[in-house]
Symmetry: C2
């Protein structure tokens, strides 16, 4: 029967939601704290109760993706290097597709604000996590246990997915999502030269 005490947390989440939308739509630099505040019906100053700096809002949105990437890599790294990883790669792509569908805005935020995201490197925790994630992916794609051509194809497969569910998707808006996914998986299969699950 107690009145919910989490209004603060709700407001904080709303700030992040609105910020994600505006940062994605209009760009981080061109989105002022005033824009965010007005959308929420509060004032600019109120935002400073929840976030010390504007950058901290972007940072929190960014670190969410680290979580997904890290978990995905962790699963994959448990697989022995070489042929087994090549065989397991399609499953990684499936999970990536699923994630991109559910987080289009979050992905757009990054692809459309590389400068602002890059500035987050000033944050020590973020820089460290980024470097580790990149090293882990590059290590996977640089393995001598996998032929160069196959590694290029693994990289290309990521490109195909990000393209179709990113900018280029405009031409196929009429195609049902499920059919588009099926076609994507088919193309990815050809890129990897192995059938998907």
């Amino acid at each position: 029967m107690s009145r919910p005490r989490n209004q603060g947390l709700e407001t904080r989440e709303k700030i992040l939601d609105v910020a994600l939308e505006l940062f994605t739509q209009n760009g981080y630099d061109k989105t002022s704290l005033r824009d965010i505040a007005e959308r929420l019906g509060i004032t600019k100053a109120a935002l400073y109760y929840y976030f010390e700096r504007k950058e901290d809002i972007l940072l929190e949105l960014h670190l969410r993706l680290h979580q997904f990437g890290s978990e995905l890599l962790e699963e994959f790294e448990e697989i022995p290097d070489g042929e087994e990883r090549v065989a397991a790669w399609p499953a990684v792509l499936d999970k990536l597709i699923e994630f991109l569908i559910g987080n289009r805005d979050a992905m757009l935020l990054h692809t459309r604000n590389p400068g602002a995201i890059g500035a987050l490197y000033a944050n020590e925790r973020n820089r460290l996590e980024n470097e580790i994630l990149e090293q882990r992916l590059v290590r996977i794609l640089s393995s001598p246990a996998i032929p160069l051509e196959q590694r290029v194809r693994m990289s290309c497969s990521i490109g195909v997915i990000t393209e179709l569910f990113g900018d280029s998707g405009l031409a196929f808006v009429d195609v049902p999502v499920e059919e588009l996914i099926a076609l994507t998986r088919q193309v990815v299969s050809d890129v990897l030269r192995v059938p998907l699950s």
Copy 2:
């Protein structure tokens, strides 16, 4: 024997060159007119002699790409719709690869400044040209004379190229450019399910 009177034009070109570099490197919003002026050894105010507004510099850089895209589309549109266009698509990709290699900065300018580029939509001429170019590409990729799967593959092939010569190329810096191009063409060939020239 007459002293060249085109110093103005040369300065104008230099402004565009420096602007392209700084916009690409540091972002459009984070590049001030002062930055550009100082690099050229002139003052901020002098820039206003050549360009009425900062945006006009970006606009001129942008419209250059319209030229390439329009010419590429024009060639392709002369080909009869259907099988013949499917057969001609690989040649389009070759030209695209060649262009991307020779204009990496110009491409980076766009991919890294979607907000600023998007703001150019306020310019009537630019908005018109953009819409026409997009319509022309969408029309090509929407043709009922080409099976859906093939059209998706045509779209994906663009994605593969932009990916490998864009962000994802980091993992293969040690691979010679020529070899990387060869591998790219091989993957593109698989995506399209036709051999490249």
